[in-house]
């Protein structure tokens, strides 16, 4: 069975306060990095997945997000897959 790299990004919903993003943005600004805005901090999840083809790999990853990896109340996710 072919193997895929899967990369998932789970980010806090835009409507939600992201104190970590805010804190990081503030810290970077204090460290004199200029011109930063809209910082959000979320989770990056990487793994390998054996799957029949790219679209089945993507569907599985989507199911994982819906079931476990992301909380629909607070988070959005995006998925990228690539054959190894």
């Amino acid at each position: 069975m072919p193997r895929f790299h899967v990369e998932i990004k789970v980010m806090p919903r835009a409507a939600l306060l992201d104190p970590q993003g805010k804190a990081v943005e503030h810290a970077l600004t204090e460290l004199e990095f200029a011109g930063i805005s809209g910082m959000r901090v979320g989770r990056a999840i990487k793994f390998e997945l054996d799957s029949a083809d790219k679209s089945s790999a993507e569907n599985k990853a989507k199911a994982m997000c819906d079931k476990l990896l992301a909380n629909p109340v607070t988070e959005d996710y995006s998925i990228a897959t690539e054959e190894v």
């Binding site: 503030h26 810290a27 204090e30 460290l31």
Partner: protein
Amino acid sequence: MTKTRIAPYPGDPEITDDLVRQHGIDEHEQGLIKEILGREPSFTELGIFSALWSEHCGYKHSKRELRKFPTDGPQVIQGPGENAGILRLGGGWAVAFKIESHNHPSAVEPYEGAATGVGGILRDVFTMGARPVALLNSLRFGPLDRPRNRYLLAGVTRGIGDYGNCVGVPTIGGEVDFEDGYSGNPLVNAMCVGILKEKDVMRAVASGVGNLLISVGARTGRDGIHGASFASEELSEETEAKRPQVQVGDPFTEKLLIEASLELISSGDIIAIQDMGAAGITSSSAEMAARGGVGVEIDASKVPVREPNMTPYEILLSESQERMLVVAEPDRVDAIIEITERWELEAAVIGSITDDELFRVTWGDDVVAEIPGVKLVDECPLYTPEAAEDPEVAARRQNEPPSYEGSLVDAWTKLTGTPALASKRWVHEQYDSTVQASSVIEPGANAGVIRIPETKIGISAATDCNSRYLSLDPYEGAKAAVVESARNVASCGARPIGITNCLNFGSPEKPFVYHQFLQACRGITDACNALKTPVTGGNVSFYNESPTGAIPPTPVIGMIGLLEDVSKAVGPHFMAPGDQIVLVGETKGHLGASSFWAYIMGASVGEPPPVDLDAAASLVDALVHLAENNLATSIHDLSDGGIALALGEACFGPTYGTDPLGATVDLSDIQAEISDEAMLFGEDHSRAFVSVPTTEVEEMLQAVRDRGLQATVVGEVGDVGGDISVRLRGGIVSTPVSTLREVYEDAIPGALAKVQAN
């Protein structure tokens, strides 16, 4: 001598003198190894010797001194030599406890270094069959005006918190100090306290030829290979290159390991168990075998690994966390696996006990290492290096700053807001201090107190060390650390019953450092003898050096106290307006080595206050008596910052639930010859503030005086939000309690409100 042919593992490097030196083994030791083996060591054997003969495992420069500690007493169930010491509490109960350093790993990676330090000390305690019920820590950093030090404090605090919180063991006390000498080399010492029934004590002694070795818990990875030797080196640029040696802690697995290990021990299915700490499988198996006078054989290919292609060298020396080694009879293996699987942990048979007293490692059918086991553990060469006092220290001891011209209120306020003396709430509010629902006195007091559920027994614990005293006089300073820790637990009403210690020093190969070490050990011995608090174990951390030199000598004392009736525990805060304030002990106004001189006058000089050990023992006795007989509503001992700091803290109250109280105190005629600043900030030992209802004053004073100590009513607890007002010979010094408390609470958060870069 060994008869087997050693098969070098494919790919292992050839043994050269260079390679041997890289393993921290000098020419003399190389000769010894050859003698012991009767041949050149294999690469695997070289790694094994290097780990077990490192300072960290072998105590090369300290063992001779440690043997002089008093270790006996009717309360001692287990003294030094096991994973943790054990003291008797009564009613069939016992306490297991130990302190350990994780300085080097924390300097490199504060979060993981501190977290794995907590993990390691927990394992030392539950290995003895004790359930961990309390954690403490002792931390040292450079001043917070430097970003690196802020980063280290934040990372260490979070690391300790995340680990202890997750395993569900409350942190009930500890200390944090800031001092230039730790800038390049922070100290992270963690202490764990566990409880058990006396009859359930487990010792890590392997026995029974043919019995099996079973590894339980996490898989073995490449992390932390050679951590033990690493901890025995000075930090340098090269340390950078060793960074992949960072170990990552997994408190979730540790929590399962606690439950599984305690169940294995109580099941009767196992003979011995030991955590895999420094030098991993190697030291745990070799130490258990040496204690039992047996041999062991390990098949490294059977060890469950995390990564492919690990060599026996890597497997034997890995310091992957959250692993235990168990010895059991072959017919118990199924029962053991049943228990570990129930706790969702892996277990694998990796070796067996043999009758030849050899430490043998195989890879399938090939023997890759074979060393006489006892020699490996017990015949680590011991050294007594040269010792001499640094003449510069002797000169500083004779020094004295000019007399103070400023305002006493300003000095009081400034000292109260100095991070080293101020509230450590920013740190300990990140630690779960109430899980297990048994914390009777929480962090922020003189010492922590927990109760043993369903009994009346309470255990108090404190960690202490004033390294400024030790820098100026290591003997008096070490005595001071012991008596301060005793005073702290006694201030809660607990009788001190024994100590563990963590001896943090620079390189023992430097005569000035070794002098400090010798004097400090002597101080601990004398103080422990006087207080009848035997040493039950501890840890030595040498080579705490950085490009700026050795750290200040820092032998941290971890004291255990017993409360027979925990409901008699006493807190440090004044409770009720109108209560009388009694100053116990003699005030001489000793300012040498004081915080006042250091932080207000900018001079870390002078002789530290001498410790009168008889007075220290009497004070302990008096305070315990007061608590037991309900003759104190609060007790706060005097140490850093003297009367000024203790009075402030007693007034501040417990932060939540109770508002701060004022106090009116008159010290103008208790000691005629001393200056006002000496009265306020002097750090004479063996003193405490006790508050007591007016009706009990006479009985209270009598009880203290009966023990040969001074006791004087010096004032009265005031109203909520009032002033703290102190009459001295030169006039009244007064400040609103709320102002002072704000300064006290804000010192550390204020200093940290700057950006954390790494």
